[in-house]
């Protein structure tokens, strides 16, 4: 199935980063542009094992890092851990196409921003915490709506569901 291929992930991430760098800055003010890579990572990891979720997150994060051209590894580490966490979480929770992706993506934003703030501070970027989290509500709302929407468009399914369909058709 195409959704489980790393090549598909790469294509999705390229598409996501293009939206993030070219389209969304036309809508959101500078500093407030939401992270599409996060939504894509959550979507992929929700249908994957923790290990593969981590791999997907790493690929997406590294692509964003390379695209950004600064602090290589910041997003790779963040999204790899996020991919693992979401991949682990999805084995413990019931899955639906709307609420779970939305809630997990919103929650991911809440976790990712402080984590990156710590990493940036460690790296010598002493950014004020209050201004750092100022756009957080915008990002949470965006992720909560965008992630299920993207999932609906892509039509991702779990392996079990797809195997069940295949055995039925056979």
């Amino acid at each position: 199935m195409w959704q489980f291929r790393p090549f598909t992930w790469v294509l999705l991430y390229v598409f996501g980063i293009l939206i993030q760098t070219a389209l969304l800055p036309q809508i959101f003010p500078i500093g407030y542009v939401p992270n599409v890579v996060l939504s894509v990572t959550v979507l992929i990891a929700l249908f994957e094992t923790p290990g593969r979720g981590m791999a997907a997150g790493f690929i997406g994060g590294m692509m964003q890092d390379v695209w950004a051209g600064r602090m290589l590894g910041l997003d790779a580490l963040t999204f790899a851990l996020l991919g693992w966490a979401v991949g682990y979480l999805q084995t413990k929770i019931a899955r639906d196409p709307v609420f779970v992706p939305g809630l997990v993506a919103g929650l991911s934003q809440v976790v990712v921003v402080p984590f990156q703030w710590i990493l940036l501070n460690v790296a010598g970027y002493h950014l004020p915490w209050l201004t750092f989290v100022k756009p957080l509500p915008v990002w949470i709302l965006f992720s909560m709506f965008f992630t299920p929407g993207l999932g609906g468009v892509l039509g991702f399914r779990s392996r079990r569901e797809l195997d069940g369909r295949r055995s039925l058709s056979m």
């Binding site: 602090m71 910041l74 950014l127 756009p135």
Partner: protein, 289 residues
């Protein structure tokens, strides 16, 4: 009898129709009041529908022709915007020259120096995917003469500097970036310092001053000092909004509002070259070369 009419019905109808038409033609060949009135009545009755259809047709025509001209218009619009920016920049430079004529070496010499500035317009085609850093990608690269370290400006002030360039594009670090530091000075008190980028979300800059008592006040214009290797002297950076003492009052730090609106930034000018040792006077506040 009935059989005759039925048998010859088609030729008869044809002949009748031809006759009616002949009479009609001969009668209406010239303007007849009643015929015109009838026509007018019909027109009046159907006029709402007629005008509606005409409107729809026109709109459709406009839409189709607009779609056809979209690419041409887009290209023309881009070219015109670049020209407008260039003309605005030229106008600004000229007005600046006139305003500072008395304090500087003379209008003629300054005009000559400003004419020596070589700028190239570029469009912003992408922004940094990471919100913590402020860089943009422009559609001009080394093939257009853009090189790393060149200053990027707009008529409103300094945008940033080129930090990387490929053949067809270049990355510009905005002055908002946390890694950005621009040698700057206050136009009123001539106090010098470094204008540092902060978190791009705030949209504010931090002016770290060198002197102990720099006599800075809100509203002062901040321009490039020329101490930096990247930025020519006298380019407008922003306006002081707040002055604060820090580090036990040993130094002063001012908050500066950039003169450029980075959210609406679409086209910029890359300073390809400028005569060594020259400067543009600041837009307001006055400056010394």
């Amino acid at each position: 009898m009935g059989g005759f009419w039925f048998r010859w019905r088609r030729p008869l109808i044809t002949v009748l129709a031809v006759a009616v038409l002949a009479v009609s033609f001969s009668y209406t060949a010239e303007v007849r009041g009643r015929v015109v009135a009838l026509s007018n009545l019909v027109s009046t009755v159907v006029s709402p529908a007629s005008s509606s259809l005409t409107y729809i047709g026109r709109q459709a025509n406009v839409a189709v022709s607009t779609v056809g001209q979209l690419f041409t218009l887009q290209r023309q619009n881009r070219e015109l915007k670049q020209k407008l920016l260039l003309y605005q920049s030229m106008k600004l430079e000229l007005s600046e020259v006139l305003a500072t004529n008395g304090r500087l070496r003379g209008l003629l010499g300054l005009q000559k120096r400003l004419a020596g500035w070589k700028l190239t317009p570029a469009s912003i085609i992408g922004r940094n995917p990471n919100n913590w850093f402020s860089t943009v990608t422009i559609d001009r690269g080394t093939s257009s003469g853009v090189r790393s370290g060149m200053a990027v400006i707009v008529p409103q002030g300094v945008v940033g500097r080129v930090i990387a360039a490929s053949s067809s594009s270049a990355t510009v670090m905005l002055i908002l970036d946390p890694n950005s530091g621009v040698g700057a000075m206050d136009t009123r008190s001539q106090a010098a310092g470094v204008l540092l980028g902060q978190n791009p979300i705030t949209g504010q800059l931090k002016f770290q001053l060198f002197s102990h008592r720099p006599n800075l006040s809100p509203g002062d214009a901040i321009v490039t000092s020329g101490f930096s290797q990247y930025y020519p002297k006298g380019l407008l950076l922003g306006q002081v909004t707040k002055v604060a003492h820090v580090q036990f009052g040993l130094t002063e730090v001012a908050t500066v509002q950039p003169s450029v609106d980075f959210n609406s930034l679409q086209t910029v000018m890359v300073v390809l070259s400028h005569p060594a040792g020259t400067s543009t006077p600041p837009i307001y506040g006055g400056g010394r070369s």
